[in-house]
Symmetry: C2
C-alpha cells in the first residue's frame, strides 16, 4: 500500500546505507511504513528507492478525499492498520465507552491476545522476523486502540510536523457536551493511541502501588527524573550457544550479572526483544534505545556474536543509567529472575501492566508548582537540537561506515601492494649470484611482510574503533528518531489545554476541571522536560566515552604501525 508524502526538510542520505536523500518540498511515494525506528521507505521522482526519517516528511492528503468534515479515518487512507481501526464498534465506542474505570480492563483486554501470541512463539527463534511482522499486523480491539493498545504500532509513527499540523486543526472541534473536552479526532496520533489524551482528559484511573511512583524534581538544569533506589550496573559476558528439542533448535544465550545481586541470568535476543516491546509500550515519553539490528544469516559466527554482545552491553548500560527505566518492574524482572515459573508469572504481569502509555503518567509525581519556564520555547529549541544532532549523527555514522569499508578494502590493498612490491624487490636481489648483501635482501623482504601486516591491521581496525562508535550512534539514531513523536505528544497536550481554557472562558468547562487538566498537562510537560535533561546528561557521557574510546583505539592502531615500522627499520641498521 503506497501513499504520497512531501519532504518538509532536506535529508542527506548516507551512501551505501540504504538511505535516500530527500529535498525540501520534494514529493515522495511512500512504499513502506513498517521499517521501524522512525524510518519510512519510499521512491523519489528520479526513481531512487531508500529509507528516510518519517519525521522529515508529511503525508499528502489525496485531493479526491472527502473534505475535513467527513469522518476522520478517511483522511488517512494509507495507514496499513486502518481496517481494524475503522470497525463500526471502534467508531461508536470512541470517546463515550472509554470511561475512567474502563481503563484497566481495557489494557488487559489488549494484552491478553498479545501475551498468547508471545507465549506461542516464546521458544521460536529470537530473530525470526516473520513472527514479529505477524504480531504487528494482527487486529486489535477498538477500545484497546484508544487506551494505549496500539503501542506496538509506534514504529508507524506519524511525522512530527505533519501530525502536529493536522492534529492541531482537528483538535479544535469541540463537542456539544459541556462537561468534558472531546477526544481528538486524529486517532492515529500517538497522543491518542498511547492514551495520553485519555489521561489528560481524566479518563484513566488506576491503583498505583506506593513503590511504583516515579518522581520529577527541580534542579539547576530544570526538571529531572529522581533516582529511586541505588544505582547499579550490569555486565554481559560469555555468549553461549545453547540448544533445545534435542539440538533441533539452537540459540545464543547471553549471561547477565547485575551488580545488585551478582547472580547470573541467561537471556536470549528474543527476551531482549520482548522486554524492548514492553518498555516502548510503557514509556511513551521516554525514548527506548533500539536493540541491535536483527540479522538472519551468519548469526552464529563468533564475530557476530561478540559484536552483538558489545551492542547489548551498550543497550543494557543505557537502561541501567536511566533513573526511570532502571527501576521499572519489567526490567528488574528481566535482570533478576532466575526461576522458570516465576519468570512466566512476571512476564504475564508485565503484559497486564496498567501503568503503561498514558497510564504511566498516573504514576508520575511532579513538583507541586506549575512549570515556570516557557515550555513551548524549550520544546522548539530541543526540536531544533534533535534535528541537527540527528543529521550530525547520520553524517558521522555514514562517514564511519564508509571509512570502515575503505579500511577493509582500498587501504588494506594499498599497503599490501607496497608489501608485494618490496617483497618482489627482495626476491630480485636474491638473484644476485655474488650475494653482495644478503642482509639487505632479507631486510627488504621483511619490510614487504611488514607492509602486508599493516594492511591486515587496517582490515581489522574497524572492529576496534569504528564498530563501537557506530554502536553508540545506532542507539542515538533510534533515540533521536523517537523525539519528534514525544515532542508532538507534548504539543498536542498543550493545545488541548488551550482548548480547555477557551471552553472555560465560555463557561463550558468548570474551573475545577480546568485546574485538573492543567496539572495533568504539566505532568506531561514535566515528564518531557525531565527526559530532555536526562537525554542531554547521558548524551554528554556517552559521546565523551565514544570519542575517547575511538581516539584511544586510533592511537593504539597508529602506534602499532609505528612499532612494526621501527622493527622493520632495525633490520637495516643491523646490516654490517
Amino acid at each position: 500500500m503506497t501513499s504520497k508524502a512531501r519532504a518538509l526538510y532536506t535529508f542527506d542520505g548516507q551512501p551505501g546505507t540504504g538511505e535516500l536523500s530527500i529535498f525540501e518540498n520534494e514529493t515522495l511515494t511512500v512504499t513502506r511504513k513498517d521499517v521501524g525506528e522512525g524510518w519510512w521507505e519510499g521512491v523519489n521522482g528520479r526513481g531512487e528507492t531508500g529509507l528516510f526519517p518519517a519525521a522529515y516528511v508529511e503525508e499528502i492528503q489525496e485531493v479526491s478525499s472527502p473534505p475535513p468534515s467527513a469522518p476522520a479515518p478517511a483522511l488517512y487512507p494509507s495507514i496499513p492498520a486502518q481496517s481494524s481501526y475503522s470497525e463500526p464498534s471502534s467508531q461508536s465506542s470512541w470517546g463515550t465507552t472509554t470511561t475512567s474505570a474502563a481503563a484497566a480492563p481495557v489494557a488487559a483486554a489488549h494484552h491478553e491476545p498479545a501475551q498468547q501470541q508471545q507465549g506461542a512463539d516464546w521458544d521460536d527463534e529470537w530473530d525470526d522476523d516473520s513472527d514479529n511482522e505477524q504480531e504487528q499486523e494482527k487486529p486489535r480491539g477498538g477500545a484497546a486502540a484508544a487506551a494505549g493498545g496500539a503501542n506496538n504500532d509506534r514504529r508507524q509513527l506519524d511525522t512530527f510536523s505533519s501530525a502536529s499540523t493536522m492534529g492541531g486543526s482537528q483538535a479544535l472541534s469541540v463537542g456539544g457536551n459541556q462537561a468534558s473536552v472531546k477526544g481528538n479526532l486524529n486517532r492515529f496520533s500517538e497522543f491518542v493511541k498511547s492514551g495520553t489524551e485519555d489521561y489528560l482528559l481524566g479518563k484513566l484511573k488506576a491503583n498505583v502501588p506506593n513503590g511504583a511512583y516515579v518522581v520529577i524534581t527541580d534542579s539547576n538544569y530544570g526538571p529531572m527524573w529522581q533516582m529511586n533506589g541505588q544505582p547499579y550496573t550490569c555486565e554481559i559476558f560469555s555468549p553461549k550457544k545453547e540448544s533445545k528439542l534435542k539440538g533441533l533448535k539452537t540459540f545464543i544465550a547471553y549471561q547477565l550479572v547485575p551488580s545488585m545481586t551478582n547472580i547470573t541470568v541467561s537471556r536470549r535476543y528474543k527476551h531482549f526483544d520482548w522486554l524492548h516491546e514492553r518498555l516502548k509500550e510503557k514509556f511513551v515519553l521516554i525514548p527506548i534505545p533500539p536493540l541491535p539490528d536483527k540479522q538472519v544469516t551468519g548469526r552464529y559466527e563468533d564475530d557476530f556474536i561478540e559484536h552483538r554482545m558489545a551492542q547489548l552491553k551498550l543497550w543494557v548500560h543505557y537502561l541501567c543509567r536511566h533513573p526511570v527505566l532502571s527501576q521499572s518492574e519489567v526490567w528488574q524482572h528481566f535482570l533478576n529472575c532466575t526461576d522458570e515459573k516465576r519468570w512466566k508469572v512476571g512476564k504475564r504481569a508485565a503484559e497486564k501492566d496498567e501503568l503503561i502509555g498514558g497510564g504511566f503518567l498516573l504514576a508520575t509525581k511532579t513538583p507541586p508548582k506549575p512549570i515556570a519556564t516557557d515550555v513551548d520555547m524549550e520544546m522548539n529549541a530541543f526540536g531544533t537540537f534533535t534535528k541537527a544532532m540527528s543529521n550530525a549523527v547520520s553524517l558521522v555514522h555514514g562517514s564511519a561506515l564508509e571509512n570502515a569499508k575503505r579500511h577493509m578494502g582500498p587501504f588494506k590493498r594499498e599497503y599490501e601492494k607496497m608489501g608485494q612490491a618490496f617483497r618482489t624487490l627482495g626476491q630480485a636481489f636474491e638473484l644476485d649470484p655474488i650475494k653482495f648483501s644478503s642482509g639487505l635482501t632479507e631486510a627488504i623482504k621483511t619490510t614487504g611482510d611488514t607492509y602486508d601486516a599493516i594492511g591486515k591491521l587496517f582490515e581489522e581496525q574497524p572492529r576496534h574503533d569504528i564498530d563501537p562508535m557506530m554502536d553508540t550512534l545506532h542507539i542515538y539514531r533510534g533515540l533521536l528518531a523517537s523525539f519528534p513523536e514525544i515532542l508532538d505528544i507534548q504539543k498536542r497536550s498543550s493545545q488541548k489545554l488551550r482548548e480547555s481554557e477557551k471552553l472555560n472562558e465560555s463557561n463550558r468547562l468548570s474551573n475545577a476541571e480546568l485546574g485538573q487538566l492543567r496539572s495533568r498537562a504539566d505532568v506531561v510537560s514535566y515528564s518531557v522536560m525531565a527526559e530532555i535533561n536526562q537525554f542531554h546528561q547521558v548524551r554528554t557521557e556517552n559521546f565523551k566515552t565514544m570519542m575517547e574510546h575511538y581516539l584511544e583505539e586510533q592511537i593504539k592502531f597508529y602506534s602499532t604501525i609505528v612499532d612494526s615500522l621501527k622493527t622493520s627499520l632495525n633490520a637495516y641498521r643491523d646490516i654490517n
Copy 2:
C-alpha cells in the same frame, strides 16, 4: 615512421604511468623510438598505446624485404636515422677507410658540428625539448657514424635480445681479406656505433696521457674499478632564480660545492644535460644515471625546484661515488671550473675528447692475466638479475606512485570526511541551549580539526617518503635500461673473438693478431665485470639508504599522527 616488433618477454606496465603491458610473443606496432631511457612507444593488438622497454621486444623483419644477402641497411627499414647511414660514401668507406690513424680526427669530425649546435643554444632554456630532438635527427658524417659518432643516438638502443640474435647471424659472415676480421654488418648495434668493434679490431689508436688511465684490479668479488685519487663528495644547495638579457630569460642555478675544493660553482640544468651527454658518449660500458625528467610547466614553482635539487643531489652523489666517473675530466671540469673563459676551453676540449666510446677502452688497464671465470655464465646471470630487478623496480615505482596518488586523493579525503563529520557533530551540540557540556562540544570540534590536519599530513607525506624513493628508483630504472646494451656489446665482442679464433684455425688470422684481439676482448669483459661489481656494491648502499629513509619518514609520519591524536584525546580528559 612505424615498424612491427615482437615481444620477447612479458612486461607488466604500471597503470597510470603511461606504460603498456606487453605479453610474450605479442606483435606490436612501434610508433616512437626516441622516447629515451631505453623505452619505446607502441600500440598493441587491442589498440592500447603506451611505453615499454625496447629491450623486451625484437623488431620484426618485413617479409617483403629483400633476403639477408641484400645490403644490410634494408634489414632495418624503420630506424629514423637510416637515411644518413645509407649514404654511398658511408657504405664505401666502411671497413677500409676507417684506419687506426683515422680514429682521432673521426671523433673530432663528429663533435665539431655537435659543439656548434651546443654553442648556438647554450643560452637557450635548458628544458627546451625541441632543441634536443633536432639534435638527434641531424645527419652525421659517415665516418663519424662508424667510430663512436652515433652516441647521441644511444637512446634508440637496439633491444638486448634481438640485437644479439640478429648480430650473431651477421657477425659470422667473414670477408675474403685474410689479414683482418671484417666489420659487423649490423651497423646499428651499439657495438659498432660506439666504436667498440673498431677498438676490438685494433683500428683505434690514441695518445693516452698518463693520468687518464683507469685501472681494473682483481678483488674477492672479481674485477673492480680501482679508485684513483681521493674520494670526495659534493653538496648541492640554494637553487637560485637568475636572469639574463635584462630579465627576458630566467633560469634556475644550482650551487654545487665539491668537498675537494669547497668552492661553489653555479650550474643550470642545461649544464647538467650537456655533461650527461658527454658522459654517455664517453662511457659505453658504464651506465650513466639519468637526469631528472624535463618538465616545461611549473618549473619555477618552489616545490618543483626543491624536488629537482633533491634529484640532482642523488645524481651527483652517484657520480662522486663511482671510481671511474668521479675522476673523469669532464666531470671534474663541471665541478671545479669557476672561470667563464676556462669553462669554454674545457667544454670544447671535452667535446673533442678522443677517448670516448670504444676509444675509452684504450685508456683502460686490466690485470695482465686473462679472465679466469666463465664470463658468459656471469653475463647471463647478470642479465637475468637485471631483468628481475628491472621488473621489481618498475613494480615498486608504480606502486609508490599509485600510493602517493592515494595519499593525496582518497586517503586525504577520507580523513577530511571524518573531520567534517566530527565538526558537524560539535556544531549540533552547540545548539543545546542549556550547554550541558561545552567542554565536550569543543573537544569534538577539535577532533574534527585534528582529522582535517591528518588529512593534510597524508597529502603532504609523499614528498617526504615516496618522492625520495621514486627518485632513487628513477636512477635505477635508467641504469638498468642501459645494461642490456652493455651486455650486448660484451656478447658481440666475445663472438668476434670466437670468429677470430676460427679464422686463426683456418690460418686466416695470425697468432699475434689473435693474441692482441683476445687481450682487447678481455679489456671489454673486464670492464663490464668491473662495472657489474661496482653496480652491485652501490646498489646495496643506495637501496639500504632508500629503504631506511622511507621507513624513517613513515615512522615520523605515523608518530605525528599518534601525537596529534593524543593531543586531541587530552581535550576530553580535561573535561570535568
